[in-house]
């Protein structure tokens, strides 16, 4: 861990109380917000700060959907798997997306460009199926519009 990261995590700790397990999830959230993922070094630091074994931190962090242990892709794609999206065949969409990007759920493409995730419901059921990329929403997706979108991202990244 480099020094600046060390200091940044320390400044996150300043917002929380030492040895209070209740602070675990908020601290992990802060760390993830800062770095996009949770590293081994960060887990070790949190363990020492809160006096929790790292195994428990990892157990907690993997339990929830929010936490990642590797950096997300440059374009983080979330496919909505709500009921209405499902009725509009978001399962097929997900499969196609996964095939097209050659990554499966919670994976990052080898070039670090794309990562894929699902969510239970974005609440835009009237516009199903919906996906989001880096927080921007795209509604009534088909595999073709999706491919267009991906190509446009690739262009943008060049």
């Amino acid at each position: 861990m480099n020094q600046s990261m060390d200091n940044e995590i320390d400044s996150i700790f300043q917002k929380h109380q030492r040895n209070q397990r209740e602070a675990l999830i908020p601290i992990l959230q802060d760390i993830q917000e800062q770095y996009g993922y949770i590293s081994e070094e960060a887990v070790q630091k949190v363990g020492l700060f809160l006096a929790i074994p790292t195994s428990k931190i990892y157990g907690v962090a993997t339990f929830y959907d929010q936490f990642h242990f590797q950096p997300k892709g440059k374009f983080h794609i979330t496919v909505c798997r709500g009921t209405t999206c499902h009725l509009e065949e978001s399962d097929n969409l997900l499969e196609e997306v996964s095939k097209y990007l050659k990554i499966s759920q919670s994976e990052v493409s080898r070039d670090g460009m794309f990562s894929l995730e699902t969510t239970t419901c974005m609440g835009a059921c009237g516009r199903a199926p919906v996906i989001s990329v880096n927080g921007n929403y795209y509604e009534q997706m088909t595999i073709d519009t999706f491919k267009e979108l991906i190509e446009s991202f690739k262009q943008r990244a060049l």
Partner: protein, 649 residues
């Protein structure tokens, strides 16, 4: 934020409650209050529906277009971002209120439409194509020939207690909330009633938890109140993770102060001086709005120590849920809050006795809390006058699926499903036949045609072995396959099971496998595999019973519901899948049987070359043929064929 009108609003808030506060307002003060409630505006106001659903539909782009329009045309107008009125399928919504006129609402306003609509409005005419309706208020001149929004079919049968101010007021401005009567009930209550009296009032109102179980809300409060402890907690559960439920999100985005008031009242009644509101991490807009709202309420002295001299202390802390469906269960939610894996534990002890950090903790669903301010404001008798005797009040549904209207509806508990689907939602799109309702998400049930006339109250549903669940109400037409849906929920549940107890963790997995087996196309099936497939339905029922009987928490107990209910309502569809290898909705891809129309086939061989199963035979320039036994139903041939010669029978 510095509150511009803080003094006036404090006076307004505390008049009648504290005798020291005069209740008469001068002209200027009345003017400010009128502006805040939009009874009178001195320049045009444009309201933009900017809940998440509006944003997904593109409201931010519409907003930009509005700003450009105003700049270009030189018209001076206020733009206010409001929450969702509940009619999600009509987003983006844009309302315009001209001075002296009523507020008029337009729907499906893409950025390209802004100029036309606004041009027309500022010239006192209306573009009918995008018109939704108007919101009449006394003292304002209505638009002629424009329907009132409340008279639209979508709104007509609704009784909007919790949703009342949604989409109407600015969710980021506490002053608007206070000016429209907000927080008065809270202050009045803490100055007038002791906590146990509040519990009594709520008990008298018959309010039952909207989280699914339907337990009397006041019972938990009383337990916590009477349990001796130095610290008690209240948790508002807004960790909504159902696929297809977004009630909490919309409430938080559209009227956050209303939720805070509900929390404050419940916390007071249960003796809690600290309350948590737990919101799913994906709900970024709701999070930012609640965060702002808490700050504003603190600043207005409505939260904190010794609130307005009442001696009551209350802090509300926002917690962001890192996301797991099982945390809807109260003990799991508490575990999560304690920084542990969100796994349910056995009860007793109940959280109201021993909860967060071992202290008495009341966990209430957000929707339950949203009803509390109105009950205390208008009295238990008023609440009892809505709904049924046993289930008074209203229930909010996230109405989605294949209906014409989709969104949030709040209806009295004596409404029937038929009313919701065929009146409020205006039936099925493209006039397709109604097939089923999925009620309550993964822990919920399937309803068929015979259930349409059931009332939505707890007793009726209990009698029919159904439950309200999360409030998701998905309407399906004949293009939906019930097995596919059941499979969808099981896939969801097996992912979301916390993994602690065997029946839920392993049982959901096995049930999903059985369904997968039934909906799979049996290629080169061996004898025992066929038998397994035939036994599938029996296994499902048997397994479901044990899962129900032995699971640790509600998630597990209710996990078999989607399958069992669809099995009892649509048994013949299951049998069709198993014995006839047919999916009548054509959803189960593996069961689709493709044929080649020999009239249309030119023998181009494209399909045969693409077929991954080598199931298409034929010689070039002659019509081809699909060998049924080999076909896996992938559909690649159909996509490939340029002559539309491949069809499904």
């Amino acid at each position: 934020m510095i509150r511009q009108y803080g003094d006036i609003l404090d006076k307004f808030l505390l008049s009648e409650i504290l005798i020291s506060q005069p209740s008469s307002f001068n002209r200027e003060e009345t003017g400010i209050l009128d502006r805040l409630t939009r009874r009178q505006v001195d320049k045009p106001v444009i309201y933009l529906g900017s809940g998440s659903c509006g944003r997904i539909a593109g409201s931010l782009k519409t907003g930009e277009a509005i700003r450009e329009y105003l700049e270009f045309s030189g018209i001076e107008a206020d733009i206010t971002e409001v929450g969702c009125i509940g009619l999600c399928s009509m987003e983006p919504l844009m309302d315009v209120q001209l001075p002296g006129k009523t507020r008029i609402s337009f729907c499906k306003v893409g950025p390209e439409k802004v100029t036309d609509i606004l041009d027309a409005v500022f010239n006192r005419s209306i573009l009918q194509e995008h018109l939704l309706g108007q919101y009449p208020q006394p003292g304002q001149e209505p638009w002629s020939n424009v329907v009132n929004v409340s008279d639209l079919r979508f709104f007509k049968n609704q009784v909007r207690i919790s949703l009342g101010k949604m989409g109407i007021i600015d969710p980021e401005n506490i002053d608007e909330y206070i000016a429209s009567g907000g927080y008065r009930t809270f202050l009045k209550t803490i100055f007038t009633y002791r906590p146990e009296q509040v519990c009594d009032i709520i008990e008298e109102s018959g309010l039952r938890g909207r989280g699914g179980g339907g337990f009397p809300a006041a019972r938990k409060w009383k337990t916590a109140l009477t349990t001796a402890a130095d610290q008690k907690y209240l948790i508002c559960n807004a960790d909504e993770s159902d696929p297809g439920a977004f009630i909490g999100r919309a409430l938080l985005e559209g009227d956050p102060h209303h939720i805070l008031e509900g929390i404050a009242l419940a916390a007071y009644a249960s003796g809690a001086s600290k309350a948590f509101i737990i919101i799913r991490h994906e709900y970024s807009l709701a999070i930012s709005r609640i965060r702002k709202a808490i700050e504003q309420a603190k600043e207005a002295g409505l939260l904190g120590q010794n609130i307005h001299g009442s001696g009551v202390n209350l802090s509300i802390v926002l917690k962001i849920s890192p996301g797991a469906f099982v945390c809807g269960e109260e003990t799991a939610l508490i575990s999560s809050l304690e920084g542990k894996r969100g796994m349910p534990r056995f009860k007793p002890p109940f959280p109201a006795v021993e909860g967060y950090l071992g202290k008495p903790t009341v966990v209430n669903n957000l929707e339950t809390l949203a009803l509390v301010p109105s009950i205390l404001e208008k009295g238990p008798a008023w609440f009892r006058s809505i709904g049924t005797t046993q289930s008074p009040g209203t229930k909010i549904f996230a109405l989605t699926g294949k209906t014409v209207n989709m969104g949030l509806v709040e209806v009295p508990m004596n409404t029937t499903f038929r009313d919701i689907v065929f009146f409020t939602a205006e039936g099925i799109r493209e006039n397709k036949p109604f097939k089923a309702i999925q009620l309550g998400g993964p822990s919920g049930n399937c309803l068929d045609y015979n259930h349409l006339d059931l009332q939505i109250d707890f007793e009726t549903l209990k009698e029919a072995h159904l439950g309200l669940g999360s409030g998701g109400l998905v309407v399906m037409d004949d293009s939906s396959c019930m097995l596919n849906l059941a499979k969808f929920y099981l896939e969801f549940l097996k992912k979301e099971s916390c993994g602690k107890c065997i029946p839920c963790r392993e049982g959901t997995k096995r049930m999903a496998e059985i369904l997968e087996n039934i909906t799979r196309r049996p290629v080169n099936e061996k004898g025992h595999e066929t038998l397994e497939r035939f036994k599938g339905v029996m296994q499902l029922e048997n397994l479901a019973e044990v899962i129900r009987d032995t699971s640790l928490c509600g998630l597990g107990k209710n996990a078999p519901n989607p399958v069992l209910s669809s099995l009892s309502q649509f048994r013949e569809e299951y049998e069709e899948h198993i014995f006839d290898r047919k999916c009548r909705a054509g959803v189960c891809t593996h069961l689709r049987i493709y044929y080649i129309d020999i009239e249309k086939c030119t023998g181009c061989t494209a399909c045969a070359r693409k077929c991954p199963a080598a199931a298409i035979i034929g010689t070039p320039t002659h019509p081809h043929f699909i060998v049924e036994e080999k076909c896996t139903g992938c559909g690649i041939c159909q996509e490939t064929c340029k002559f539309v010669a491949i069809y499904i029978k």
